[in-house]
């Protein structure tokens, strides 16, 4: 079905393109939001990504390729954006509850703390963690999306998990018994 939408969008069907946007906007916006720590910048970034897609629809081969392409462009645009504007210069995620809408109160607390802790990672490490745990890509796909060797992806994941875990234990958001 998604391939059909892609074909129709390529042929100039605006409705089909809007459907493709609706199907992927959550992922693209979330990458921008968690990378840049700003809702307005995340929306601008998502708009940039979809405008690029609109211009390059001919180069997209399949629905699967579309998903990978969008995540790759979103993550790389966010890293480029952070090179120009440091993360520290961005606003805090004060409106996290509005967009995240977690079901439980402890989930909300965890999500907010995690968003804050993710901000302490370097931009490439953050992109690796988001593509791995938010988008559920495997390490090879993460490496391909970020033009990074698989071993570098693995070491980013290992280091970031250790750092996040120790901070969350410190904040008593994760049980110490979970330690291996």
């Amino acid at each position: 079905m998604a391939d059909g939408l892609l074909v129709r969008a390529r042929a100039g069907d605006a409705g089909a393109f809007a459907e493709l946007v609706r199907a992927h906007q959550g992922s693209v916006f979330s990458i921008g939001y968690r990378m840049l720590n700003r809702r307005d910048a995340a929306e601008d970034l998502a708009q940039d990504v979809f405008l690029q897609l609109y211009r390059k629809l001919e180069t997209i081969e399949s629905a699967e390729h579309l998903g990978f392409w969008l995540r790759r462009v979103a993550a790389n645009l966010a890293i480029d954006w952070l090179r120009r504007v440091p993360y520290a210069a961005t606003l805090p995620l004060e409106d996290g509850a509005e967009v995240a809408a977690p079901q439980r109160e402890d989930d909300l607390l965890l999500t907010r703390e995690l968003d804050r802790l993710l901000g302490e990672l370097s931009a490439p490490a953050r992109a690796v963690m988001l593509l791995r745990y938010q988008e559920d890509l495997d390490v090879a796909e993460v490496g391909a999306a970020l033009d990074m060797p698989v071993n570098t992806v693995k070491s980013h994941i290992k280091r970031s998990l250790t750092q996040l875990r120790s901070r969350m234990i410190g904040a008593r958001l994760v049980d110490c018994e979970e330690l291996p």
């Binding site: 100039g12 605006a14 393109f17 809007a18 946007v21 609706r22 906007q25 959550g26 992922s27 693209v28 916006f29 979330s30 939001y33 968690r34 809702r39 929306e43 998502a46 708009q47 979809f50 405008l51 609109y54 211009r55 390059k56 629809l57 001919e58 180069t59 967009v99 995240a100 809408a101 989930d107 965890l110 999500t111 995690l114 963690m129 988001l130 745990y133 938010q134 988008e135 559920d136 290992k158 998990l161 250790t162 996040l164 875990r165 994760v174 979970e178 330690l179 291996p180």
Partner: protein, 124 residues
Amino acid sequence: MSENFENELRRALRPLDAPAGFTERLMAALPEKREIAPVATPVPQPRRVAQRFGVPAAFAAALVVSMLLGQHVAEVHRERTEQQAGLAASRELMEALKVTSQKLDLAYQAAKAPPPPVEEENRT
């Protein structure tokens, strides 16, 4: 690293909803006419001899080329040797002509000079 923590992470990092009206704002921002990005068409590259005719043909072609090249190098070498030999012969001839010319010059001067005067004592 415990799998439980990674699952917690996945749960906490699930994708968020885009802001309301995002699609409508994006569709309004799209250009009227879509500029189609040029898809790079591969330029046909001249195929190598080995790809076109097979390895034995490529080997034979390489052999012929190397033989022609060797022949040309030998020809150039022979021409150069002949040229040097010619130059040496020409130098020798010039030297011989020079010596002959000097000797002829001396003989001419000797013939042209007046005979020495005869002494009186000898006449008696």
